[in-house]
Amino acid sequence: MNLDLSFHLDAGLGSKPALDPDALHDVLVVGAGPAGLNAAMYAARKGLDVAVLGKRKGGQVLDTSAVDNYLGLDGVDGEGLAERFLKHLSKYSVPVLDGAEVVDVFSQGPVHSVVLSTGESYRARALIVATGSTPRRLGIPGEDRFAGKGVGYCAICDGPLFAGKDVFVAGGGNSAVQAALDLAQMSRAVTVVHRSRLRADQVLVDRLLSHSRIAVLLGTRIVEVTGQAAMDGLVVEDAATGARRALPGDGLFVEIGHLPNVGPFAKRLVLSEHGEIVADARGATSVPGIFAAGDVTDFPYKQIVIAVGSGATAALSANEYIARTAF
């Protein structure tokens, strides 16, 4: 039994660290995941007046058990990594507003304003959008109906509820394989179902294939989640033959990638065909003074180390932009 200390003294409504609504800040970072936190640190180190507005301190990193691919921090857990990020940033006394959701953005000349769901608005010379991504859904019959009744999106959260049961994981990337490995610690049997080939890192695939309680069904599409009060199985289809069959099981974890959280920025910025914010090599978007970093951008790889790097890039670009722009 362990303890994972990290808490907030108010339940999301109380006094927030003060951020002056009348001040014109240099940089406001939207999103407090790896990209946003590193952008804030880089901006602070450049001497900029910066603050972070984020829905959830730490971002998606909090939803993973083991992070094995962050150089120098071998085997750190997601929560631990997020804590290290926050601790490091705390040296620079950057205000980090938690539970703050940006719902609108507008600009007056070179000054950009963001509006929170609670109504407050803040102004800055530059914005860094680092709003990350959220899990993609399968979009098949039964998925919504059995959400929370067998269908889940957070394997580490819900895994203990499937102790001794049979679960499926949809997907073939790193997060699917990691979810299967996590679930296999408690579940009776885990079946990974994926429509094409596994895309996960070879080290993870090797662990997956050698696990005695994990089976892998490739070339197979999930077409329906079945059940009565709760999920009782899946209908799957062979991608080659189109033949369908029912597979009994108690749970399904959907790990098929992510959708960018573009939110209110969608109406201001040019997006890629996948709905991601188009950002150039310097993190600049289609609007001068608005930069983007991390999973929300059209950069192809969604990884913590990449998000962190792009956060630094966006902050350094924002610094240059502020220096050469008249406000």
Binding site: L3, D4, L9, S65, E79, G148, K149, I156, C157
Partner: protein, 214 residues
Amino acid sequence: MKMFNEELEKQLKEIFAALKGDVTIALFTEPGCATGEETTGLMEEIAALSPKIRLVRYDRTVDAAKAAEYHVERVPAIVLIDSSGAYRGIKFYGIPAGHEINSFIPALLEVSGAESEVPAEFAARVAAIRRPVDIKVFVTLSCPHCPGAVQKAHKLALMNSNVQAEMIEASTFEELSRSFNVSAVPQIVIDGKTTLLGDQPMQAILEAIEAEAS
């Protein structure tokens, strides 16, 4: 086995410096209660970190009157009592370890009188709840979003004595969880009927309570 290492102990001592008044941890167990020992151990370690925290142990059967007073329905149960000896409507069923330590510590502070602020308009809506409301929040210890949901439910209970809110560790209380079809956490159940999934904002929980009443 000790749960706190030196660093954690130091951190917690600093946090507990903010305790305003005394808090009593009323811990209910019973002989043969599978997770009772672990829970007792954790509570003993916590109580040792501040002179303001007192641990009182009860046996659910022997101390049936106390159990009834605090509406204890299963064990292990943790009830927090404020310095005036009042039961404030908040409970933890099962050990608040893992991530759930993060709902337990704010609860200790709140009950000690170090209360978090709430906007006046919201407080007025909570104060307007006139009927008894029961909020159950099902959690697992490996769930990072769960403590937030527990903390919000507890805050509502602390703000209005008609509201009772409890954390329920789903693996410890498997049967109860099954009867509520819990397969994803946090799952917030209001009066045994309305279910909210995920760490919902406090407004959403309050709206669900208000919607039920009308």
